[in-house]
Structure formats: C-alpha cells, structure tokens
Amino acid sequence: MHHPEDPNPTAPEGPAFDDTAFDDTAFDDTVIDLTEPSTDPLTEASRAIEAIVMVATDPIPEQLLAQLVELPVVTVRAICADLANQYLAEGRGFQFVEVAGGWRYQSHPAQAPYVERFALEGQTARLSGAALETLAIVAYKQPISRGQVSAIRGVNADGVLRTLEQRGYICEVGRDDGPGQAILLGTTDIFCERLGLGSPDDLPALGDFVPSAAVVEALEQTLRVDDHPGGDADASADHAAEA
C-alpha cells in the first residue's frame, strides 16, 4: 500500500483509515508535484481558501478571503477560479462556485437525486407565478416602491411583496426622496443564492425579454382603434397618418 505523502506541512496523520481494496497505483497519477509544497505562496493561499470556505456557512466574498490570506483580490479571484476548475476537471461531486457575492462549496447539480434522497426535510418552497413576476419587477427596477410594483402589475402587490420580504428575497433598501418618502425595495443575497447568481448584475438583460415583433404586432392589431376588416396595410397607413 502506497501512502502518498501529505504535502500539507505539519500535517498530522491523514485519514484514519487504511484501505487495501483499492489499487494503490491509482494514486500515482493524481499526486501533484510534492517537491516544494509549502514554499509556493499561491499553493499555500489556495489551501487556506479551501479550508476557510469549507467551514463557512455563507458565501465568502473575495475581499474577505484576500484579507485573510494577505494577497491582492485579483490573485484571490484567480485562485478561486482555478480551484473551481480543478474540481470540475477532476469530476468531483461538489462544486466551488461564486454565488451572492462570495465563494462557496455546493453539491454538483448532477448529484441532485442523491442529495435529495438524503436531505428529506425542509426543502425550499417553490415560488408561485405571481411571486416570480413580482420578484422580476423588483430585481430589474430596484430600488422600487410598493406602489410602483403594484402599478406595473395592475394589481395590489402588497401581499406578494410581504411574502417575498418574509422569505428574505427582497428587503428595504432606502427611502424615496419624494414627499411620501415611500420605502424602496431591492433584492437580497438570499435572492441571488436562490437563483444561483453571483450578483443581480448576472441576470440576463431586461432587454432580452422585450416582447417579440409578433407579440407586439398582435397586441397592436388587437387594440388598434380603427377597424378595417381584414386589417390590411391601409389600416396601418391610416393609423400612422392619424397618429
């Protein structure tokens, strides 16, 4: 049984377990360069980042990691991206991802069936269509007041907004300057986590959702003022001239 040397300096005994069932030659490929393990500050920082993020309960911002390992943020960013790629390349069952403004470990999506089998309790509730639409308005129009959300939706959105607030997806982010000093709402880190976003900036541009020409035309055709049976080019010309 070949036991690879632990490249972590001052490491105590590794796994409390010797196993003979596995072909020990399998490890030879995976052993990284052990000649100078601890002298490389990048390798050292990489290990420290792995350890820190492993014990964290929330995504850890690069700024905090940079502060803890005493390296520039850009370097930390590169290390994190490299770690993410390493796990990916090795086909790990977990991922290292940037979510809600920080890095975290999470299970790989392909392992979802196993994780679901294991985590039986307290699954996150599905969002209703109304909740998703309201969330979309807040996400793209933030900061936005309750009244403005209701105006866009055409219905009173207070109930849905309150639920979203209770779930922690949106929160008060300021006050309007106007006379009413309306509360302004915005999305939270929990929202980003729920959607798997690094930040709200990662959302697809709202412009991507502008209705297609066919939809616009259908609405215009239906709601046009003049009725010319057949709705031909004349109608549009009249319409244009009149407008």
Binding site: P109, E133, G154, N156, L206, L223, D226
Partner: protein
C-alpha cells in the same frame, strides 16, 4: 379571488356569455396554472389571473398560432365575462379591471361606429393616450412575465445544488464571538412576529375615496326595477346621480349585460350621441337577468 370554488362556466346562468367565453378559452375551466398552492408552496394568494393585464395578455396571446386572427369583440366579451365571474373583493383591483374594461369597450365602440369628425379633439387625443398607455403597460407586463419564466428556470437549476452549511469545526467555536451579545428579548419577539404573523387583511386606502358601491349586479337589479316603468331613457340620465367613474362603468357594464340577454334595446343617434336604453323584456325574464351577474363587491 381564486377560481377554485367557482362553478364551471357552463353552469353559469349567463349562458349566452358563457358559451362564447368557453369557446374562446377552453383552458379556463381546467386551469392552465395551478389555482391552489401545492404542499410546501409559498403561500402567496394565488389567483387564476394576476390582474387585468395578465387576463388581457392571456386572451390576446393565448393562441400564438392565430395571432393575426384575434378578434377584438371576442376579447372584449371574454374579458367582461371573466371580470363578471370574478369575486372582486377589493375596490382597488376592481377599479383596475373595470377601467381597462372601459377602455376596451370604448375601443370596441370605435370599431363598430363611424368616426365622427365633429368629436372633441381633446377627448379624441385622450382616448388615444389611454389606448397607447394600455398597450405599453401590456408590453411591460409581458416583458416581466417572460423574465419571470427565466427566473423560474434559474431557480430550478440552482436548486439542483445544495450549499455546504456545516460550519466551523468544534475546536474553533470558542474563538467566534458571542452571537447573542446585544440581542434583547424584545428583538426576538419582533423577529418572531415578523416571520410568523398572518398577512394583514388587504386594506383599501379609503383616505381619499368615500366608499363607492360599485356592483354590476346591483346596477342590474336597479335597472330591472326601474327601467320597465321608465320606458325610453338615456344612459346619461341613468347615471346622472353618479360622479364616481367606477359607478358609471358598472352601469355601462350592466347595460351591456342586459342588452346581451335581450332585456333591453340600445339606440345611439350617432357616434358619441347619447345612448338611449329601452326595456323590452317581459316580467319572466327578470330573474334570469338577476342571476346572470355575479356580485362586484364595492
């Protein structure tokens, strides 16, 4: 305003309207979206249609194959029938639904009637503005609807991964600061109430509005009571005592409803002339008329 407990449209006494609507919206009864929250779903009050834009978009875009065959009359009728079916429990949402109904009805009238050149230009521009506003709000609503679909996909994809939340190993716990320092019992009480309290009842801001009784069925009842004795009467007269726009709108809807059921005859001397209403039905039809309209609670 959930439709869960509503009887299917076919059972609605307003069969004249119902048949038409049914044909236009075969998916309404079966429900093209879950009307009730499933186990574990966020307890948002789910409504079959989240507002007038939602309903109108659905009616216009439901069948993308026939986008260019969409008939305004069908849509207006289906919209009004749907509004009629709704249990509009607060004035705020009722008003939105009805104001858009008014715009739609006006649009439909324009199509049916010849253009009157003598019409007040301000009024004309006002109508154009209203129509353009409706169009842009519909487009905005559709934009966010499509964005919401992508949100759902993103959330679904993200849900495939579970975050690690095991936290610090035991030996580091002593190093971490006491999380309860500065926490007062009162803060716990407020936190509990924040997360566990029932939503406040939907309130209508009546600060600037005196309670308006806006019910189509009431208006129908009023007309059924008064019209047979009045003979021919103008719509202006019928609404003369009502200053609130929503009151006029429900009376107009009531007139349309009675017309549809063949209870009354409507005449209009010319475009934008005064509507004249005349009762033509017999006594026996009255009950049908009353049964045909659901309540709008004002």
């Amino acid at each position: 305003m959930s439709f869960v407990d509503d009887p299917p449209i076919a059972a609605d006494p307003a069969a004249g309207v119902a048949t038409q609507v049914d044909a236009a919206r075969p998916d309404l009864v079966t429900g093209d979206r879950p009307a009730s929250a499933s186990q574990g779903t966020v307890q948002v009050r789910t409504e079959a249609f989240e507002g007038p834009f939602d309903l109108l978009l659905h009616l216009i875009l439901k069948d993308e194959v026939d986008l260019y065959e969409v008939n305004l009359s069908t849509i207006v009728d289906a919209y009004l029938a749907e509004v009629e079916r709704m249990d509009l429990c607060d004035l705020e949402s009722a008003t939105e639904f009805l104001l858009i109904a008014a715009t739609l009805v006006e649009l439909k009238c324009r199509r049916l009637l010849p253009v009157d050149d003598s019409v007040d230009l301000d009024e004309e521009l006002g109508f154009w503005e209203e129509r353009d506003l409706l169009l842009s709000r519909l487009l905005e609503c559709k934009t966010f609807k499509d964005a919401a679909k992508v949100f759902e996909q993103l959330a679904e994809r993200a849900a495939l991964s579970a975050p690690r939340r095991a936290g610090m190993e035991e030996r580091f716990l002593d190093l971490t600061p006491d999380l309860l320092s500065g926490v007062k019992p009162e803060m716990l009480r407020r936190a509990f109430l924040r997360v566990a309290s029932a939503k406040p009842e939907p309130t209508v801001d009546l600060f600037h509005v005196t309670a308006v009784k806006a019910s189509v069925s009431d208006a129908i009842a009023e007309f059924v009571r008064d019209l047979p004795a009045k003979g021919r009467v103008t719509f202006r007269t019928l609404t003369s005592g009502h200053t609130e726009r929503v009151e006029v709108v429900v009376r107009f809807l009531a007139v349309l409803e009675l017309f549809k059921q063949g209870m009354i005859e409507i005449e209009q001397p010319g475009a934008f002339g005064d509507l004249t209403v005349e009762w033509i039905a017999g006594e026996s039809d009255v009950n049908d008329a009353l049964a045909g309209a659901d309540l709008y609670e004002g």
